[in-house]
Subunit: 179 residues, 2 copies
DNA sequence: TCAGATTCATCAAACATTTGATCATTTGGG
DNA sequence: CCCAAATGATCAAATGTTTGATGAATCTGA
């Protein structure tokens, strides 16, 4: 660092955003500080929400966040091919393959060869899996509600609108998507 | 599912948000759909941004997202105790311990026992680490800029404001934070 | 029809993360 | 002063993720 400004005494996960943006602006004049702040804030906010949900809802019930995502998709969209499950729950096919070992072992879902294409895999919730996702989702949604109360209804809609616009713009940005 | 509505043919990572919220509303009348939509959208948007950054910037350079976060913190805040690094880069002390093995092996940072407390660890970037983070951050920031262009300047500020408000409200929500 | 290309799933190795245990050092109270 | 409690770091085992390779089934075009 050219100008070695000491960091404030208590630098936290959250206050680091402000600190980092200002520091980067001073050190690297070419930086796009607006963009940096937006992406950094987005990541930190999401990280806090996920940490809370995972540690207060999922882990205590012996679940993981990725496991929840798979069971959630299967609960809402019904039995489907593994390829689709990977798509809509946001993971690679290889990652899902590994994850399925745990979920199947725990008796939450079943893997079956598809009849129309013997390469493909058909996934479906077991009875136990169906009962479990119902209860876990209720707890999950209660925590979501607690988070949502931080904003006014109008603000929540605006946040969703802005995030949707961000995603819609990702094609222009030539963003990389999962296969 | 009580009403077995077939999912639309092409259910994608992104379109699943809408599908899931509507379906959950029908199946589970007690659901807080607003909250569900907000958190789901937040997670998916962030996930897309992170996937793009990691796969187009970090992985091709042999870096990982968590490794970048650590080097980034160290670059901006300067040498510091490992405990602080874990705090501001958002990981547990145990996770950082494991991550340091890789980063140290790759010659990007150095671990030293702190002089004032021989239990504590002092972390600092090596010359190589300093040079590397500079280059990687530049590329990282260019991708951030591309994402940011999806929104108008005023919208970017509003998004940041809303996310900050969400975080500020997390104390009221009794959210769980990392130790 | 059949051989090459494509698609689906899994495996392997490296990496990162979680919880809970262990070990070393420091601190604080009697 | 000294021992118990607290603190900092690491380890161990289980889980999940990435990239790249492999094997099986399906498709395609000559």
């Amino acid at each position: 660092m050219t100008h070695n400004t000491a960091p404030p005494d208590e630098l936290t996960f959250w206050s680091f955003v402000d600190y980092a943006v200002h520091k980067a602006e001073r050190e690297l004049p070419s930086v796009n500080a607006e963009a940096m702040r937006m992406i950094l804030t987005l990541n930190r906010a999401t990280s806090m929400v996920v940490y809370d949900l995972e540690s207060s809802v999922h882990r205590p019930r012996g679940w993981t966040w990725p496991g929840f995502r798979v069971l959630f998709a299967l609960w809402l969209a019904g039995p489907m091919e593994a390829k689709t499950t990977a798509q809509i729950s946001g993971m690679s096919r290889a990652a899902l393959s590994a994850l399925l070992n745990t979920l199947e072992r725990d008796g939450l879902l079943s893997r079956e060869r598809a009849t129309h294409d013997r390469r493909a895999l058909q996934l479906s919730l077991t009875e136990a899996g169906y009962g479990a996702i119902l209860g876990v989702f209720r707890a999950h949604n209660r925590r979501e509600s607690a988070w949502a109360e931080a904003l006014e209804p109008e603000e929540r809609r605006e946040l969703v609108r802005l995030l949707n616009k961000l995603m819609a713009g990702s094609t222009d940005a030539q963003a990389k998507f999962r296969n």
